[in-house]
């Protein structure tokens, strides 16, 4: 690659606000509201801590990076509130298991609260945060990462309960098994846990990570905030900052939700307004928005990002809170290239979410 790595970037409180806003949009309806994790980071900043974002291209090939996240039911996180010290625990457990220290941390998924998650760990330690993640958005399961799609190792894997319970999976068949086992353990711990996925080397991240997604989320959030300040259109700002497409403008007229096999599944029907008057758009979701139909035709599908945002504020709207009467725009943002391969589509394409559709990107004209 011709470009040289960017220098480390010290993040401000305003950067964190922008990151949370951008991550919530990139969550494509899932990933959980970043509010509590953002508040954790702000508390740590107030006490003099800081966080620094580094370019993945600056990583040494043998650098070791902790890929962190929380796991469990968002509702439980409303009561057992995310805690920076807890987020650090599986990182320490993994270090003990490996017998060496990490060099940096990064997000498993940039979408939703997990986009802010590594910032808590960074603010509590001296680890920099690598400007990359494994999804470029939010997805419901652990195997839906670029690293799993690339066939990288899935173990060891560390999980910490809020009590003094740490679990390290030293060996697993594949990431799907890590998902199955850790999901069970998480349920037993009260349906919320902090996790550290299989350690990634600098070389692996440079080859298979989804790069610069944290700075993209910050830029996305900043564009929305500056549009608001200038009384401009935050939705246009998202489209410009994210190279996206506006697919539909309308009002939510029906929401159908059901919990099956541990997921929040359903669909939201949107009646057209403005340029889309007379048309109807239906977005299906499984925790995150997965497929969008204009009238009866599937026009957008995962791994393209389907973002439903508030028409006025530009805020992301979660699949757990979308409701009748909301004025929304349905936007598409380009999905990560690594998911467009055969293996990528097998993991996160429409069929992985139960839709008998051949993937066609909305960005292919």
């Amino acid at each position: 690659m011709a470009t040289s790595p960017s220098p480390p970037r010290h993040l401000s409180v305003a950067d964190m606000d922008a990151l949370a806003l951008g991550a919530w949009i990139l969550g494509t309806g899932g990933g959980g509201d970043p509010y509590h994790k953002l508040l954790n980071v702000k508390q740590l900043f107030k006490s003099g801590r800081s966080a620094c974002l580094i370019d993945p291209l600056s990583l040494a090939d043998d650098a070791l990076v902790a890929v962190v996240s929380s796991m469990g039911a968002p509702l439980v996180g409303q009561e057992r509130i995310p805690d920076a010290a807890h987020a650090l625990r599986p990182v320490r457990a993994m270090e003990e298991h490996l017998g060496r220290r990490f060099d940096a941390v990064m997000s498993m998924e940039i979408g939703g609260g997990n986009g802010v998650h590594p910032m808590m760990v960074a603010a509590l330690t001296d680890y920099p945060v690598v400007d990359a993640d494994g999804m470029g958005r939010a997805y419901p399961e652990l195997q839906m990462t670029s690293f799993a799609v690339a066939g990288l190792t899935c173990a060891p894997f560390a999980l910490s309960d809020i009590r003094a319970n740490d679990v390290v999976i030293t060996q697993a068949v594949d990431t799907r098994w890590v998902e199955r086992i850790s999901r069970r353990v998480t349920a037993e711990c009260g349906s919320t846990a902090a996790i550290c996925m299989a350690p990634r080397s600098g070389a692996e991240i440079k080859a298979h990570g989804i790069l610069h997604t944290a700075s993209q989320a910050i830029a996305l959030g900043e564009s929305v905030m500056s549009a608001r300040r200038a009384h401009g259109d935050p939705v246009d700002a998202i489209i410009n900052a994210g190279n996206g497409l506006k697919l539909f403008t309308g009002k939510v007229v029906d929401v159908d939700r059901r919990a099956t096999e541990g997921f929040l599944r359903g669909q939201a029907r949107i009646e057209g307004m403005d340029d889309d008057i007379g048309a109807e758009f239906t977005v299906h979701f499984q925790n995150e928005f997965s497929v969008g139909y204009r009238d009866c035709e599937a026009v957008v599908m995962t791994p393209d990002l389907i973002c439903v945002v508030d028409s006025v504020s530009g805020d992301g709207i979660g699949t757990d809170v979308i409701r009748y009467g909301q004025r929304v725009n349905v936007l598409a943002l380009p999905g990560p290239a690594c998911f467009m391969s055969g293996a990528g589509l097998a993991t996160v394409g429409p069929r992985a979410f139960g839709f008998d559709l051949d993937f066609r990107s909305v960005f292919e004209s």
Binding site: L75, E79, R80, I81, D83, R257, R258, D320, R323, G325
Partner: protein
């Protein structure tokens, strides 16, 4: 088509409804469904002076009819105003039963600094709390709770808020913690978060802390209301209206000031429904600086599911779902380009509006120029171009129409009830609305809404491994039990709100259900049957 207004008060039962607002104190005397008298007085500095004056004026205008009143219902914005204006607050200690979880974000973490500085009476985090399925997270640290109680006592803290993880589902930890605190200091006033709020620890704890720091003011105010009624020669029970459009008796209300925060808009909506005889409707209350839009179902306001900020503090408890837009009689209109609000001249309307000799173009001026209302000097707006008047009215109505449409939750065409001082801005017809109803006597809708209130019971619970019908029936039974315990007559209970949402990523098909029921006040029916009926 018959409409259920949710308000069918027993015939012959006389009630007085009083709305104590920031500016005016309104009072009405209602018998059955007839308004016998209505008065408007100025709210006094001490609040209760205005109540006394209102009762005196009401007695003067209705004469003997006041004698056999059985209940006085007061709705007041006094407590929410105290939070917003940062006055009359006492310090409150915060005990959170949560460790080892939820430690990094202490109580009052996201409060405005000025409010926290006034209200913070010390934070205490102790081990304990529950999982979502009721299991303990860890053993409750009773010794730490006792120590917290002793420290609060030594610090001279007289009120505390106790919150525990998942207390809306299992209150054992909060109850035990309150017992231990009381054991250390019998005089400590304790607010338990599980009695107020929903799932969402920080927001529920915030509600409990706001409640705790209003306790002194609440006790003083409710006692003074009772004294004002007694000294007016009325022998009637005092009830205080709540955010959800129901009432609780004065003894209960003393300990729950936060439940009266939104009683102003709630009573206004319910009063409008009663006066119009329509129970399912959208209500728009167009006042001086804002238009508040709410939604009534069977005469009760739909509840907000989201976080509601009070004085800058995030809360999540029983509040009506309201949409406020910056559009009212005092809203400033700018020309070239035309824009309406959100700035407003507020209470200075009578000095600054053109029709009152001022320099600022307001929506009231436009309304006068358009002939929608008469106030001030119409000659002072005669120079306004007709296109400006027409375009402004069109834009104001577009804003109202959009706000109303946003509050609809289903694709039907409900009626719209228009109340408030600037209700004339409401258009005659609106898309998606079957009929625009201008409510008669809307000036006292608040007080009428207070007078018509009933008693409720609510449940918000997570059920596991049950069929939907089965769990909803169980939730309804729990809600009915709570309403009856609060003083509702069992045979009058009706479900006014029912909602269930499946919870993802949890084992055992967990479903969170919320059910609310309302009914008549048992004590009033008893009072009625015990007394000879009046003519």
């Amino acid at each position: 088509m018959s409409t259920n207004t949710g308000q069918v008060p027993p015939v012959g039962i006389k009630r007085i409804g009083i709305d104590v607002g920031g500016t005016n104190t309104d009072a009405v005397l209602v018998e059955g469904s007839t308004v016998l008298g209505a008065v408007k007085t100025v709210t006094s500095e001490d609040v209760t002076g205005g109540v006394r004056a209102a009762l005196k004026n009401l007695a003067a205008s209705t004469g003997d009819a006041m004698r056999d009143v059985t209940a006085v219902m007061i709705g007041t914005t006094h407590f929410v105003n105290a939070v917003v204006q940062r006055r009359d607050l006492n310090r409150a200690g915060a005990l959170r039963v949560c460790l080892p979880a939820s430690a990094s974000l202490p109580p009052m973490v996201d409060w405005p600094d000025d409010l926290a500085a006034l209200a913070n009476g010390g934070n205490y985090l102790v081990a304990g709390g529950h999982e979502y399925d009721g299991r303990p997270i860890v053993a409750l640290d009773e010794r730490a709770i006792a120590e917290a109680g002793r420290k609060m006592k030594a610090d001279g803290i007289a009120a505390a808020a106790v919150s525990a993880v998942f207390s809306p589902l299992t209150d054992a930890c909060e109850l035990r913690a309150a017992d231990i605190l009381r054991n250390e200091n019998p005089d400590l006033h304790i607010t338990r978060s599980g009695t107020l709020g929903r799932i969402g620890l920080l927001e529920r704890e915030n509600a409990a802390l706001l409640n705790a720091c209003l306790i002194d003011l609440s006790h003083r105010t409710i006692d003074a209301f009772e004294e004002a009624i007694r000294s007016s020669g009325i022998e009637a029970r005092l009830y205080i209206t709540q955010n959800d459009g129901t009432v609780v008796d004065a003894a209960t209300a003393r300990d729950q000031p936060v439940f009266s925060f939104a009683s102003g808009p709630t009573n206004s909506m319910r009063g409008a429904a009663f006066l119009a005889g329509i129970g399912d409707a959208i209500v728009v209350d167009i006042g001086g600086t804002t238009s508040d839009v709410g939604c009534l179902k069977s005469g009760y306001p739909r509840e907000a599911n989201n976080v509601v900020k009070v004085g800058g503090v995030r809360t999540l408890f029983r509040m009506p779902d309201l949409l406020s837009i910056g559009l009212g009689g005092s809203t400033i209109v700018a020309e070239r380009p035309l824009s309406i609000g959100p700035r407003s001249v507020g209470h200075r309307l009578r000095n600054e509006a053109l029709v009152f000799g001022g320099e600022t173009l307001t929506l009231s001026d436009i309304a006068v120029a358009a002939g929608l209302v008469e106030m001030g000097d119409k000659a002072r707006v005669a120079h306004l171009p007709s296109t400006l008047i027409k375009d402004t009215i069109t834009e104001a109505r577009r804003m109202l129409t959009e706000a109303v449409d946003r509050m609809k939750t289903e694709a039907s065409d409900p009626p719209l009830l228009a109340v408030g001082g600037a209700a004339m801005l409401t258009p005659e017809r609106m898309d998606g609305i079957c009929e625009v109803v201008r409510v008669p006597h809307h000036a006292v809708a608040n007080a009428v809404g207070a007078a018509m209130a009933q008693i409720s019971g609510e449940v918000d619970h997570v059920f596991r491994d049950m069929e939907r019908e089965e769990l909803l029936a169980e939730a309804e039974r729990m809600a009915r039990d709570r309403a009856i315990a609060a003083g509702a007559a069992a045979d009058t209970l009706k479900v006014v709100d029912i909602d269930s949402i499946p919870m993802s990523y949890m084992p055992g098909r967990a479903v969170r259900a919320r059910v609310r029921v309302v009914g008549d006040i048992t004590a009033l029916r008893a009072a009625k049957s015990a007394e000879p009926s009046s003519t």
